[in-house]
């Protein structure tokens, strides 16, 4: 390997890794706040990319039907549970959040997809229609199980993943798609040529990571999210509703998924089930961060990107094997150096269960 090739691989790895950063941050955020290892998160990323691709081809993306179905189920669940509790006065609010707000972007996309859309509008509509997916899944599949163990939540998450990727096959078909790049610019830096797209990816990733940091540090809801992650009982004692922080975490994560999907669309050909692998690789990054630390997660995700890029140079057929095998030494190393996150979280759940 020459030095130019190595540099090229690093550059390529960083831009893929930057996307994994956003996905991994979403996974960690959801896990810390709700204890759900959100396996279908990668699928949401895939839906975002495929939605944008469909819009660019002038087709109606199946995401519209997904959102409508999820919104209908969630609305019925919410209205029934409110009526049972005798909280009829809260039904209009529930209708706004679970019916009107998700259906609105779906309807706009439905009608807009018949016209040729400028790039920025197609991107914006993609974000708008992908945004409700994760919070609706949370309401349907996870909120009713809020007190279940991490393992039960994981099993449900796996089931949701299979449902999501099956539906994606139905909506988008088995062909692969690649979206139009947002910029075709190239920059020469000595021996290195950097594409505008990869600069865009790295800048967006850094920007959204920074925004997430600002939300955590500066806003009350951000502090409430952190508080829920640190101490669930304490959070309830100050009046933080777990379902509110849960829904917020899923909503923020959905935004990260939409952005990631839009960014990865032009650099990889995506199929209905490609999202899962993206999610899984981001998960490796999240594991490097011990599923607790956001900065360590970001570093981990970048490392996975670089590692993947070198692995595909050495042997592209074994690329995935090499990336996922890297988990083994990481886990061994972690079991020696720290007792962070995962174990403690599970122990805590057990003691909660007994209490």
């Amino acid at each position: 390997m020459t030095w130019e090739i190595a540099l090229l691989l690093v550059q390529d790895g960083i831009s893929t890794g930057a996307i994994y950063v956003l996905v991994a941050l979403g996974i960690v955020l959801i896990f810390l706040v709700t204890r759900v290892i959100f396996v279908p998160f990668g699928d949401v990323v895939g839906y975002a990319a495929l939605t944008l691709a469909a819009l660019q081809l002038g087709q109606m993306p199946g995401t519209v039907w997904l959102v409508l179905t999820l919104a209908a189920i969630a609305t019925v669940m919410e209205v029934v549970s409110l009526a049972r509790q005798g909280d009829a006065h809260r039904i209009p609010r529930a209708l706004l959040f679970y019916a009107v707000l998700p259906i609105l972007p779906a309807a706009v996309v439905y009608f807009a997809s018949m016209h040729a859309l400028p790039m920025w509008l197609a991107t914006l509509l993609t974000v708008a229609v992908v945004l409700p997916i994760s919070p609706l899944l949370y309401r349907i599949a996870f909120r009713p199980l809020a007190d279940a163990s991490v393992l039960v939540l994981l099993i449900v998450a796996v089931a949701v993943h299979f449902a999501m990727s099956g539906l994606a096959l139905l909506y988008f078909g088995p062909e692969g798609f690649r979206t139009e790049p947002m910029t075709r610019a190239f920059f020469d830096l000595g021996a290195l040529t950097i594409s505008g797209q990869s600069i865009l990816i790295v800048v967006s990733s850094a920007l959204f990571s920074f925004l997430l940091y600002l939300v955590f540090e500066r806003t009350l809801i951000g502090k409430a999210l952190r508080a829920t992650a640190v101490n669930r009982v304490g959070a309830r004692l100050v009046g933080i509703l777990p379902s509110t922080t849960g829904a917020t975490a899923f909503l923020i994560a959905s935004l990260l998924a939409a952005i990631s999907g839009i960014l990865i669309g032009p650099i990889a050909t995506l199929y209905y089930d490609s999202g899962f692998l993206i999610g899984l690789k981001a998960f490796v990054g999240a594991i490097i961060g011990g599923l607790v630390s956001y900065p360590a997660t970001a570093v981990g995700a970048i490392l996975v990107g670089i590692f993947e890029s070198f692995a595909s140079f050495w042997d592209s057929a074994l690329k995935e094997v090499i990336v996922f095998s890297s988990l083994i030494p990481i886990l061994v190393w972690q079991s020696f150096t720290s007792h962070t996150g995962v174990e403690e979280e599970i122990e805590e759940d057990e003691s909660e269960g007994q209490a």
């Binding site: 640190v230 009982v233 959070a235 309830r236």
Partner: protein, 240 residues
Amino acid sequence: MSTLLAVEDLHVAYGKVEAVSGVSLEMQTGQIVTVIGPNGAGKTTMLAAIMGLLPSTGTVRYDGADMRRFGTEERVRRGICLVPESRELFTEMTVADNLILGAYTHWTNRKSLDAELDQVYARFPRLAERRTQLAGTLSGGERQMLALGRALMAKPRLLLLDEPSLGLAPLIVREIFRIVMSLRELGVSILLVEQNARAALETADYGYVLETGSIVHSGPASGLIHDPKVIASYLGGKVE
């Protein structure tokens, strides 16, 4: 004076084991009421049930409203606040952030929040010195002050205190009880659960004695403190 909290025939069970069986108690607005009793009597469980953290049967009426259909969060919103024995602080967040989150239910704007923060800092100068420190790095006494301060940020009308003196040095215990007394001036009613029976009865207006899940004695605190049975069991006196 009006009845602020009325608990009637409260039962709480962990599986088949009943930890609280048929507890009834009442407290008036502005009162300090204490529940004393040995380890395992069900004191903490009772508070958790009043707070809505544990499922229970029986009625809990607060401020004239039946609390049964409300979750913990709604009870906090209505002015009931629990300072648990385990403190339940946000250890990986700063002292200031812990306090800010105390005001979560009625947060309006930064200015009124700062005013409330200043009031708590005035009451607990130690917290003001440590405001940028992580809650997990505080000493036991400081943690208790932070837990109290966080509860005060919620502007409670009824404060449930679970063993506020547990594991603290005598000097700090006295400081904590002095603060508890001073909260009465803010119009906060206090339900105080304590193993340190003497300090609790000296602070309270009315007292209940809880043993194995049931109330066995009750009366004005000044009377209980001279009751031979209470003295024998909880105040370290001699049995005649």
